[in-house]
Amino acid sequence: MNIELLANLSYIVAAVLFIFGLKMLGHPGTARRGNLLSSIGMFIAVVAGLTAEGIVSFEYIIGGVILGSIIGALAARLVAMTSMPEMVALFNGSGGTASLLVGWGTLYGGDIATFTAVTVLLAILIGGITFTGSLIAYAKLSETINSAALVFTGQRIVNSLILVALLASCVMFVNDPAPDSVWLYSVLALALVLGIMAVIPIGGADMPVVISLLNSYSGIAACAAGFAINNNILIVAGSLVGASGIILTNIMCKAMNRSLANVLFSGFGAVKQGKAIEGEVKPITVEDAYYILEAASNVCFVPGYGMAVAQAQHVVKELGEILERNGAEVSYAIHPVAGRMPGHMNVLLAEADVPYEQLVEMDDINPRIQNVDVAIVIGANDVVNPSARSDPDSPIYGMPIINVDQARTVFVLKRSMASGFSGVDNPLFFGENTRMLFGDAKESISKVVAEFG
């Protein structure tokens, strides 16, 4: 009894540390300490968890912890910063899987009350969706499978059938809960299928929403597992994560001016529409780009997923430094959904040693974009597409964008004239003040840097 009390008191300490940790993660100066604090909280909670009644053998626990630590540490050390979205997707999936397994394992603990049966089903359902959903997100992010939205006829009917079957299986299981119930396996299988079906119709450009949502699910799954095993700390920590994921999801949706339902179900990007744009693009040579940049006193970089693909963040920062030494004011304007996960571009630029004061948000740069002499768009497309403002027929109409077309000059670094990720044409490329610098982004910028040398 005393040990149980002690464990519960430790859970309170852990919860407080999680809360302070998350709070401190909100400011660049304290974020690292916040993460440390939260990890200390985790350590305390885990040690307290080990004292739980009924644990008689430790060899499997120790084996699992060692194996998991090795895999986790290696993954965290070895992953390239550009692959961070994939890594986060996989970690989400592994958290969901753990909650699924804990819920499932609970069924072997003796008599199963109806409430327990329901919470176990929730843990299995949400954990299962998180697991396969994250795997599909991973596959799309790493381009193992086609990252475009996959939509087929009858998709909604298939999904509805899965849902009905799922619901029926849940009811049957709760009626007669047993660890080897065939309905349990049915719920498990259908949850895994549902995770796949939920993510395949979502295109690569919408991945920031999907990742934040799966992040939220992994928290909610932990929460459900907490209910299944009557554990406070799982409920508290799980719901904190669930809430943070929902907030991020909401921020991402707002940044695209779309509802969550629209992102999840519309198969955006599978259909092309909007006005076709005609005009002439004006290419520019590296030499001419150099002359313009040399004379510029205010330069703003606008990075997108293309910068990650080209691994151009280091040369971009090098050019930024040269321009600063040349007397120009340099900033990096980052759209909330640029890249494949929330804050993707910020991480890459931080990796390249760009101080975070230079990273400005969309709402800060737009009011003063007219004062920008040169806006350099690197591998961004939809987030700088003016048809979001002007063309009501465009699929991205209404999405807030960085108004680079209102800068004095715009350089667009682009491999070729192929249309962007969402398959939407971009009138920016045909703008009066736009100059296209064709070629690999990293190579082009290196050449400009060489001109300065």
């Binding site: 660049p28 986790g72 603990g109 554990n231 799982l234 409920i235 996960m341």
Partner: protein
């Protein structure tokens, strides 16, 4: 009554979570997400019971797998978040 208590905790934590996170600058979205993700590995604290109870072979198997996955989540999540955050430097720290 126990259930009501648990739900009470749930509701309060959700509100707390919304209050805590609503004002995070965009710069920190990725570390916030991966840091929060590491916390969701809290399932580990619950996984021990299945893995160590020796009720049945199946429970041990499920529990051990849960311990492994949750540990990946916890260890990997915290380390990768720390690695990212160590790169975020202010202007004074980058020496310019």
């Amino acid at each position: 009554m126990e259930v009501v208590f648990l739900i009470f905790i749930l509701v309060l934590s959700i509100f707390l979570g919304f209050e805590l996170i609503s004002k995070v600058p965009a710069t920190l979205h990725t570390p916030l997400m991966s840091g929060a993700n590491a916390i969701s590995g809290i399932t580990l604290a619950g996984a021990f019971v299945s893995a160590g109870a020796a009720d049945s072979q199946m429970a041990t198997l499920l529990g051990t797998a849960a311990v492994t996955f949750a540990t990946i989540n916890v260890v990997g999540g915290y380390l990768v978040t720390d690695r990212m955050l160590s790169m975020f430097k202010s202007r004074s720290a980058t020496g310019r």
